[in-house]
Each structure stands twice: as C-alpha cells, then as structure tokens.
Amino acid sequence: MASDSGYVDYVAVLGLDPEFKPADARRVYRKKIKDLLIEISQVQVTEERRNRFLLAIAQLNAAFYILRDKDRCDKYLADRAQVMQIEEEWRAQADKTEASDKCRRQFDQALRDFLSVYMEELMLEAGRDPECVENSNWDAAHERHASSVLRRYRQQLFHEIHERLPFYDITQPSVDWDERSRFVAAMIAGGER
C-alpha cells in the first residue's frame, strides 16, 4: 500500500471523522483558525514563523473551502485516491523496465497535477473566498507573499514523495552513514582536499 504521506489529507487537517458533514467542517474550521490567529498575535513574528503561519492559514482555508462543498470534496477525495493508486501500480512494476517507465511517467504527471491543484491553486483560491477572508483576515498582501511559500511547499511535497519511490534515474545507492559522518567531520575540520 502506498504511503499517504505527502498527499495532504484535508480531512485530517481539520481533524474530522471520515463521515463528516459540511457543518462539522465549518464549526471546526472556525475554531481552529481563531486559535491560530490568537497564537500568531502572541508571538514575535520572524521570517521563519511568518512563512509557517501563512502556510498553516492557507491549509486551514483550503481544507474548509474544499470540504464544505460536496462536489469539490468528492473530486478531491477521488483524485487523491487515484494518485495514490497509480503510485502503488508503479511500485509493483518497478522491476520491469518498459512497463515501469510508462507507469512512472503517468504517475509523475498525475502527481504534479494533484499537487498543483490542491496544494497551490485551491489554497490561493480559498484565500479569496468571502467566508475564508472573513475568518482568517487573508488579503492580497498575504496572497502575494504566500504564492512563493506555497510553490516551495508543493515542491517539497513532491520531493518527499519522490524520495521514497524506487530509484530509476540512478542506481540504488548504498550509503554508509558512518562514513558520511566522518567525511562531514573532515570537511568541517578543513583537513580534506
């Protein structure tokens, strides 16, 4: 079974049961976003924290925006299940060069599409939704700054998923991490050439 890590689960982001109703999503979203805004107001906002808070708000907004609408929610859940299914198929084919290559390309495209729609586009779209704007105080300045944060987030998820997949563009590395640690120590000491 393919891991679901990297395919952000918006139901889990809001902490909902699988059988949730749109009203549950609304109630939990309002509570969580309020708590988050209070937390933000109580700490000194550094660049690192600002990026983290922007991402957290965008995730909550997106979760609510997607899950409160039945059609949007059904499509999201179906797309997520499908991309995970393709990953599993590819893993099963990983030893067969020809079939694996075709499967890998199909998965790569499906994954890119999934991440760009649900981990970037809809996150930004949610920030323009009147109900999300009212609850999260999201505005154009947030969106401007968040666009690069979300792009980075999407690529990180892509790499997180990619890193656990079978090796295809390189032979399977067999890394001796003790040796790596000694190499790093030598580099830091400046004794290596």
């Binding site: 660049e47 792009r151 690529q155 790499h159 563009d169 032979t171 399977q172 790596r180 580099m187 050439r193």
Partner: protein
C-alpha cells in the same frame, strides 16, 4: 558535394574511464551528464568523436592529480565500467551510477563547488540528510567553542541549500546578494534608527545572519545562542566567505572620511544660508566641488560617478555581501541619492571587522 561519413574509431574502456574520472575529480556534474546524452562523443553510435580537438576539455590535463587518480580507480571497477558501457549503448534516459556521482559530489564539496555538490546529492536523494549532518556537527563545534569549525559547517550547509520555489523546477539556492541587498535596503530610512546599520546590536546581528545565511530556518538555529557568540560567528563567516574583506574595510574607512568632509561642507552651506559664513568657509566652499557620489564610488571601488545608488549598492554587495550591513541610503539633493557608510559607535562587530574610522 557532401563529405562521405568517416568510420568512427572504437571508443575504448580506457577513454570512457578517463573522461568520467575527469568529471568526477573536478566535481563537474554538467559534463558528467553530458557524457551520457544521446550525442555524447563516448557513444559508439554518435556522430560526435571524443578524439576531436574540441573535446579535449573532457580529458584530464594532469593525470597525476590525486583526486583524478582516485576517481580513475573507481571508474575502472568492472561493475561500474560495465554499467556505464550499458548506458552508453542504451536508447532513452540513462541510469546514472551512484558511486561515481557520490564521489563527484564529495569532490565538488572539497573544491567549494557547493551548488554542484547540492545538485549531485539531490539526485542521490541524500542532500537534506547531509545538510543536516553538517548543521549538527557545526552546532556541536559551536557548543565546544570552536567558532571556526562551526562557521565552516554552516557555510557548507547553507551552500547545499535548495530552492524549491525556483521556476520551472527546483534548483540549488545560489548566493544572490546583489538581489537580496535591494530588499534589505528597499525602504528609505525616514528615521536614523530605521537604517539597517543603526539597528540595536541584537537586531543588527539577527538581520545579518538572516541576510548572509539566506535561509531563515538555518539562521534561526543560531538565535538561542549568546549575542557575543553570534557576533564572533558573523565575523568568522564574513572573513571565511570574503577573502578580500580587508580591502573593502580599507575602502570603507576612506569612504567614512569622505562622508565626514561632506558633512562639514553641508554645515558650511547651512551657515551660508543663515548669513553666518566666515572667510574660511568661503575659501573652503570655492575649493570643494566634489560630487557626493564619490562616497558611493569609494565604497564600491569604482571610479565612475555616474551610477545610481542602487547600482553602487548591488555592485558592492555582489563582491562583499556583508557590506550591505554597514551602509545606508542618503538623499543629498533633489533626485540624487547615494549610499554611504554608517555604523553604531558601540558596535562590537564593526570593531572586529576593522570598519571603524580612525
């Protein structure tokens, strides 16, 4: 009349091993990948020929170099050579051999080609873990009071950073101080305390770490450490990454002198406006016709006085990234702005870096 195609000489294992060993020894990932592509001169079915003079650069100029000898031994291993051979005969994307690529990345690090090392480690899917290893060992060195080692670790960890927001695909995060400096000085300081160079030592050091390390997460690891240690860390960072810093410091002190003279000139002009001009002031005013942009030019080491403030700023930050922490923007006339040296007299960092005007 078309020239008849000539029969290409057999590409031998020895040539393949030598060419790859050269890219591995020099930490050259571009040529490493190039040797595998469809028109690689190492492919028997390619129209390109490794024996042509234009491909001389793919072969080692010095076969006695230690890194090259070691890389050649690796490339001559039968299973690696056989894999490379198979990829050179294969149609479609090649599968790179991991051991030469790991060695290439290590050599790139040894040669301070940090972005190349980042690219190779990223392909090997070990970049983040190696970066974390550098940070962990650097933190341990700082805990033990070895600032020099700690800084080396942070320099390498920052150099291995990746920009996942790059378009169209992630790339190594390159040092782009000439761009970052414009953000740092993007707003004109309306009050003296708004100027970067005049921030309190705590804020100034934090600004410096975030600006120079280029990664908020990595810079954030240092925030809990005592101010004195962070100041020493910054000094070491600047000296390790900018070997010409002392030359800049000399120009900076010269620019401080020019700025002081310019200040005196403004005071004379003010007295003249108030009708309190002395004979000495008149003589000085007649003699002093220097362009205030000379201050910016002195900072950047240029002779031209025709540039805009941001051009001097970018130019200086490109060659001496840390310079941006000790300058400020200043309007000197309508539509004329300069950059000039500015620092807090109680700044320990300024003293350590030799920037204090005599």
């Amino acid at each position: 009349m078309a020239r008849a195609p000539q029969q290409k000489a057999q590409v031998t294992d020895a040539v393949i091993a030598k060419s790859f060993a050269h890219t591995v020894a020099t930490g050259d990932i571009v040529n490493f990948r190039f040797l595998f592509i469809s028109y690689s001169p190492l492919r028997q079915d390619s129209t390109e020929d490794i024996n042509w003079p234009k491909y001389e650069y793919l072969l080692p100029p010095d076969e006695n170099d230690a890194l090259y000898r070691s890389a050649l031994d690796l490339m001559k291993q039968p299973e690696i050579l056989a894999h490379v051979r198979a990829q050179l005969q294969r149609q479609g994307p090649p599968q790179l051999p991991w051991e030469p690529l790991m060695r290439l990345a290590d050599n790139a690090l040894r040669l301070s080609k940090l972005t190349t090392a980042a690219q190779a480690y990223e392909v090997l899917r070990v970049r983040r873990r190696i970066q974390e290893e550098f940070l962990a060992q650097a933190d341990a060195a700082l805990d033990a009071g070895d600032i020099r080692k700690g800084v080396r670790g942070y320099v390498m960890a920052s150099g291995l950073d990746y920009d996942y927001a790059a378009f169209p695909e992630p790339l190594p995060a390159v040092p782009n101080y000439q761009e970052r400096v414009l953000i740092l000085h993007g707003e004109y300081p309306k009050n003296p305390e708004d100027a970067v160079a005049l921030q309190t030592p705590e804020v100034h050091v934090r600004t410096g770490l975030h600006y120079l390390l280029r990664n908020a997460e990595i810079a954030g690891r240092l925030e809990a450490r005592p101010l004195a240690l962070r100041i020493e860390f910054l000094e070491q960072w600047i000296r390790q990454t900018d070997p010409q810093w002392d030359e800049f410091a000399a120009r900076y002190r010269e620019a401080c002198g020019l700025a002081r003279e310019y200040g005196e000139r403004l005071e004379r002009e003010q007295r003249a406006e108030q009708g309190q001009q002395t004979l000495a002031d008149e003589v000085e005013a007649a003699r002093d016709t220097r362009d205030p942009r000379g201050i910016s030019a002195a900072l950047s080491g240029r002779t031209s006085l025709e540039l805009e403030w941001w051009q001097y700023l970018k130019d200086t930050a490109y060659r001496h990234p840390a310079s941006a922490l000790f300058v400020t923007r200043q309007v000197v006339a309508k539509d004329v702005e300069i950059i000039m040296p500015r620092y807090r007299s109680d700044s320990e960092l300024v003293r350590r870096l030799g920037l204090e005007a005599v």
